[in-house]
């Protein structure tokens, strides 16, 4: 009975976490960094020099060089920049038979001020530079009592680096070190999780993703070294740990007591390798990356058995850059093996109140999760652009994701429910955007969900379909 009680607590926590993640994705909150006009002031160049077709944050070969050499090109300038996003989300169906539709979709159809960020970005010395983003999320969490949203200020992406470049007729070697708070945020290609997809704050995306795809963002502090040889071979090795103690400046606003910071055991390695080639107006990259992370199942009690995540990814990018045309294509595939901590594995499954039965006997000891992401975009004259992207999340039937089927339980709303326990979610997103000036972008996205939490129809056990989550998303994104 005692273990049943613990299992219920854990299951509720797991389903709450899934509900939160899914709701955040649906409600339109995702952390991202982007345009940093203070870098433009430092080099004196327009955004298009570093950002392909001006569509920040995607980098041109020169933008990659700027980042790899530690953000040090140019002359020291006022390092402060700001960014703000206003947006409107309209969800296809806000009907929720198993929850509170007003609590689940409180912002639906309303034009809102989404987020604002402050950047501290620029060169420090000839070899040292970086950027630090601080974000205010206007719709961060909902009050448990009246569903009102509360704002929160928090650390966002951070990357401080040292770099040097040895170049003459015999050699071309860039090498450096990075200190950052989000695995892949230090990368210079836009096919990795931190920079490739859902880059507009508030875009729709997958709810359940491999840990490496943002699961540790602003929770961790990592340091590593990298080299880029002959503009061809890139290699990096880094190590991540919990951003606490003196590293907590990178995780402000994230706290185990708020339930938004995970605690890692020890140092957790991250690696990256890539091959790059430029020819004429074209350039391409193929690469691989991975991470092994051990996470305590209960962040408030970081001891004992950990959940072990082993993520491996492959990615590729192609760009054609010749004024006035910019074509870019990115893709990545991440495979994750999860070995659940002892306290999570082999626990009683979720409960089906309607039938008075358990949906699964015992939870799994290990699971797999795979995520494919693809994106293609075109920009004309750095003013008019469009993109089409796709994601497909698959994995083993994973009892940790399963939500109880219980009527009128606001903790298990239909929108984030999963009757099958399968994480399978896939969607297409089409986007059109306009850059009236280089520091502002106005866009519209539409996302079609073909599968959600394991099914195309009745994924929650109460009749909600994947297409009910289709979203129309309008945004105005400005920076200075």
């Amino acid at each position: 009975m005692w273990s049943q009680g613990i299992a219920n607590v854990l299951r509720k926590r797991a389903s709450n976490a899934v509900a939160l993640v899914t709701l955040l994705a649906l409600a339109g909150f995702s952390s991202t960094a982007a345009a940093v006009p203070s870098f433009a002031r430092q080099t004196g160049q327009n955004c298009v020099a570093c950002h392909a077709g001006g569509q920040y944050p995607e980098l041109t070969p020169y933008g990659r060089y700027f980042k790899l050499t530690g953000y040090t090109i140019g002359e020291r300038a006022m390092p402060l920049s700001g960014m703000a996003v206003a947006s409107l989300v309209k969800t296809s169906s806000t009907n929720d038979p198993n929850g509170d539709r007003y609590a689940d979709f409180p912002k639906d159809g309303n034009l809102i001020f989404q987020t604002a960020s402050l950047f501290l970005a620029g060169k420090v010395s000839d070899n040292v530079g970086g950027f630090a983003q601080f974000t205010y999320g206007n719709y961060d969490t909902q009050s448990a009592t009246d569903s009102h949203w509360k704002g929160r200020s928090m650390s966002d992406n951070f990357d401080l680096r040292y770099a040097d470049h040895l170049i003459d007729s015999n050699r071309d070697l860039i090498f450096g070190a990075t200190l950052n708070n989000n695995p892949t945020v230090q990368d210079v290609w836009n096919s990795v999780p931190a920079w490739g997809y859902n880059v507009v704050p508030g875009s729709s995306g997958p709810g359940i993703t491999p840990l490496l795809a943002g699961g540790l963002a602003q929770n961790v502090a990592g340091a590593g070294g990298y080299l880029f040889w002959n503009k061809t071979l890139y290699a990096e090795l880094s190590s991540y740990r919990t951003a606490d103690g003196i590293w907590s400046f990178m995780s402000q606003g994230f706290d185990t007591n708020l339930g938004n910071q995970q605690i890692l055991k020890g140092n957790n390695p991250y690696w990256r390798i890539a091959l790059s080639h430029d020819w004429g107006a074209h350039n391409a990259m193929i690469g691989a990356f991975g991470m092994a992370a051990d996470v305590y199942p209960d962040a408030t009690q970081p001891s004992g058995s950990t959940t072990r995540y082993r993520d491996t990814g492959i990615d590729a990018q192609y760009q054609y850059l010749l004024d006035p045309h910019v074509v870019t294509v990115q893709g990545s595939y991440i495979h994750e093996r999860i070995h659940w901590a002892d306290s999570i594995a082999n626990q009683p499954g979720a409960y089906d109140a309607a039938n008075g039965t358990a949906l699964q006997a015992l939870t799994n000891t290990s699971d797999t999760l795979d995520m494919l992401r693809l994106k293609a975009s075109y920009v004309y004259q750095a003013k008019y652009g469009g993109s089409l992207s796709y994601f497909d999340v698959r994995g083993s039937n994973n009892s940790q994701y399963q939500t109880a089927v219980a009527q009128n339980d606001p903790l298990s709303p239909s929108v984030s429910g999963s009757r099958s326990s399968n994480p399978g979610t896939s969607a297409w997103t089409a986007e059109a955007f306009w850059l009236p000036v280089q520091y502002a972008r106005v866009g519209v996205q539409y996302t079609w969900f073909t599968r959600f939490n394991g099914a195309s129809s009745n994924y929650d056990g109460w009749g909600r379909s994947a297409k009910d989550n289709n979203t129309l998303f309008l945004y105005v994104w400005g920076a200075y």
Binding site: A40, T43, G44, Q45, N46, V48, A49, P61, Y62, Y65, F66, T69, T72, I73, G74, E75, R76, V124, S125, D126, N127, V128, L160, R161, Y162, D164, H165, L166, I167, D168, S169, D172, A177, L179, A221, A223, S239, R241, G245, I246, W247, G266, N267, D278, W279, G280, A281, L321, L322, D323
Partner: protein
């Protein structure tokens, strides 16, 4: 504690090693940094180490006339050259360059060995060769060779055209023909006035493979 020490050591090492070398500086505001260093550490990222750029978005500078390079960098710095590629990329980079640095940069690229570009459509090249060497008499277009040299090597303020990216040449001919964004090349406005789109394509294709 051990982990903390690891990170502190990593950062300290980074910042300490950060005692920078003037030979590898990317600082565009310091007159102490030589033109050669700027060419290697900054310009090479788009124009290539030897000035033979890979992307046609950026002109080849290798073997370019020193006087022409001096004039262009000076015109970028003073904002007199205002074609989009010029102000988007070059105004900022040139804003704090000293005359000495500009001179060193011009010498660096003028002394570099130029390469020929790829050959395209033979008919196009043949048509371009006629324009290059003979002009278009019924439209009042003089031969390119008369100022830019029979081998397209250029002369003083007249730039080298041989081996230049065709896409770059086309873009500049259109800037001359349709705008006043390059006042230092105003003579080209008259010269390019009678060129059709096909003529421009042809002559650029010919120059690229020279």
């Amino acid at each position: 504690m051990r982990h903390t020490l690891f990170f502190v050591a990593a950062i300290s090492a980074s910042l300490l090693v950060g005692c920078s070398s003037i030979e590898r500086s990317r600082n565009l505001a310091s007159p102490e940094v030589s033109g050669k260093t700027l060419a290697e550490q900054v310009c090479s990222s788009c124009h290539g180490l030897t000035g033979n750029s890979e992307s046609p978005n950026f002109p080849k500078l290798a073997g370019q006339q020193r006087d022409y390079l001096l004039a262009q960098l000076t015109q970028f710095r003073s904002h007199n050259r205002a074609d989009p590629a010029g102000f988007e990329y070059m105004w900022g980079l040139s804003r704090s360059l000293s005359d000495k640095q500009i001179g060193e940069l011009a010498s660096y690229y003028a002394a570099s060995a130029p390469t020929s570009g790829p050959a395209g459509n033979p008919q196009m090249i043949s048509a371009g060769e006629k324009i290059f060497n003979g002009g278009v008499s019924d439209k009042g277009v003089p031969a390119c060779a008369s100022c830019h040299g029979p081998k397209g090597e250029g002369a003083a303020a007249f730039p080298r055209l041989a081996g230049q990216h065709a896409d770059y040449l086309i873009k500049q001919l259109l800037v001359f023909q349709r705008t006043n964004e390059r006042p230092e090349g105003s003579v080209m406005k008259t010269v390019a006035h009678g060129l059709s789109a096909d003529d421009i394509q042809a002559v650029a294709s010919f120059a690229q493979q020279m």
